[in-house]
């Protein structure tokens, strides 16, 4: 039997209107729980991105003795070859005396004492600047060159890097746990409010069964109602998520929290989270209604 679209639209709008308090409760539940889930998901994404930045930004530096002045020196050559053969290294660049001088001038611009201390590129050591594939390997790569002839010093942000990695992996796990816990609790809350709504109308379902409505005929308007509640709730949830996240960013910017500043998510990543929320909201709404109806539908 065909179900007329007109009937479904009429029933759904009427029911939403008649039971607007219950509908409102369902919508608010969906909106709040999904906004928490959305914030947790976005936060996870941001931590992910921030870690990626830290990792790609890490530079291990190998400084050579003053006797080594250019790449043509065999000791420098040896280091360069070794670096080229190491799989942990993503990119190694040579910074000659001119490069070092430029860097020095840039570092101490406006500081007359430091500027006057070094006036000639030949006073500075040459170095290799190394980008690693994984920040965690900085220590092991650095130790290879410690006793290499011609190497004066190795500099790397070992302690800092380890700390950052520890924090970020903790944050990632924590936000994932929070997101999944919120997801579960939101499903339970949403199902419960839908069940309440349907329980309040069990008489209607009884009458429908009595006069010979098919199960699908009874189900469809309820599911459409749940779908709309879920969708509207998810839309509001998206709005709340974006509000919370932008407030959070403002807070970081205002208080100048350095560690958290690289935490951003691109517009695309935000949209993915919103789409996930919308899909989830409508599925829970429609599916929840169908599940909640099952009890009243067994003939």
């Amino acid at each position: 039997m065909a179900i007329s679209v007109e009937y479904v639209v009429k029933e759904t709008t009427n029911n939403l209107w008649r039971n607007w308090m219950v509908s409102l409760a369902a919508v608010v539940t969906v909106a709040l729980s999904l906004s928490f889930v959305g914030v947790a998901l976005l936060f996870r994404q941001e931590v992910d991105n921030a870690t990626a930045r830290w990792q790609s930004g890490v530079t291990l530096a190998i400084f050579m003795n003053s006797s080594v002045t250019s790449l043509s020196n065999p000791q420098a050559k040896a280091v360069e070859d070794q670096l080229a053969n190491m799989s942990q290294v993503s990119r190694a660049t040579f910074c000659g005396q001119n490069c070092a001088y430029r860097e020095y001038r840039g570092m101490f611009r406006g500081d007359p004492t430091m500027e006057s201390a070094i006036t000639n590129p030949s006073q500075l050591p040459v170095s290799f600047r190394i980008k690693l594939k994984h920040a965690a390997q900085a220590g092991s790569v650095g130790s290879v060159f410690t006793n290499q002839p011609g190497v004066q010093a190795i500099e790397y942000a070992k302690g800092e890097v380890e700390q950052l990695l520890k924090i970020s992996s903790f944050l990632q796990v924590a936000s994932l746990v929070a997101a999944s816990a919120l997801l579960v609790s939101s499903v339970v809350l949403i199902l419960n409010s839908i069940r309440l709504a349907i329980f309040a109308r069990r008489k209607e379902v009884e009458v429908m069964k009595l006069v010979g409505a098919t199960n699908w005929f009874i189900r469809v308007p309820f599911m459409a109602e749940g779908l709309i509640q879920g969708l509207v709730g998810a839309l509001i949830g998206c709005g709340l998520t974006s509000f919370f996240v932008s407030e959070f960013r403002k807070l970081i910017a205002q208080n100048n929290i350095k560690l958290l500043q690289p935490m951003t998510a691109s517009a695309g990543e935000e949209v993915v989270v919103y789409i996930l929320l919308l899909i989830f909201g409508s599925l829970v709404g429609a599916g929840g209604s169908a599940i909640a109806l099952r009890r009243f539908l067994d003939v």
Partner: protein, 227 residues
């Protein structure tokens, strides 16, 4: 139209016997009173016809079909041939008289022009056309039962089941309801009415089937409530 063959039904895992070896047959167009004390199985009888309950054993035919063999999804189609009226009316409080009756047609997918033609007709029949925009709680008990009858009959069912339809009504209103059921019966609809009201059974002189402890103990054409 309705045939029971050795039907047994128990509740609560066999501890409460509702029907026991119940056999009877009701022809098309008959008007049958189902009488008996409380707990004698009258309501169970009606529920079995409606396939609201399934028998433990025995066979039941309704409108030519053995309903024990009916698959799950066909049950709604069986019910479209059966109208139902109850003591407590079972109207939807947030719909008007017209909407309550139209609802029965809407949910079985009747097109709008059919609904707008049939609902006023049946409301005219039960004498409530003028009150079609009222809500159930603005009507008297008798009027509410008329709405329930209109809803049960609007689909022109083959059978009308009534479970103590006058149980909540005063004698005057009861007579009105009975006249209405009689008129519906005269259109060819089979009416089965479970009742305690000996006054109406005695005055109508129709077929009486008496149940006692789940068995048919009397079946009289043009019977009365007692012996």
């Amino acid at each position: 139209m309705i045939r029971f063959e050795n039907v047994a039904k128990t509740y609560k895992e066999g501890t409460v016997v509702a029907l026991e070896a119940c056999s009877t047959e009701i022809q098309k167009g008959e008007f049958v009173f189902l009488v008996g004390s409380s707990g004698s199985g009258k309501t169970t009888f009606l529920k079995l016809v409606l396939r609201d309950e399934m028998p433990d054993s025995g066979k039941i035919w309704v409108a030519g079909k053995q309903i024990g063999k009916l698959s799950h999804w066909k049950v709604p189609y069986l019910r479209r041939n059966i109208g139902c009226v109850f003591q407590d009316f079972r109207l939807l409080p947030n719909r008007t008289v017209h909407e309550n009756v139209a609802f029965a047609l809407e949910v079985i997918g009747r097109p709008r022009h059919v609904i707008s033609a049939q609902v006023p007709q049946v409301l005219e029949l039960v004498g409530l056309l003028k009150k079609k925009d009222r809500y159930p709680d603005e009507l008297s008990g008798g009027e509410q039962q008329r709405v329930a009858i209109a809803r049960a009959f609007v689909n022109r069912p083959l059978v009308l089941l009534a479970d103590e339809p006058t149980g909540n009504l005063d004698p005057g209103t009861t007579r009105g309801i009975m006249r209405l059921l009689d008129r519906i019966n005269k259109t060819g609809t089979t009416v089965v009415m479970a009742t305690h009201d000996f006054v109406i059974v005695d005055s109508m002189r129709r077929r009486v089937v008496e149940l006692s402890q789940g068995r048919v103990i009397r079946d009289q054409v043009r019977g009365i409530y007692g012996y």
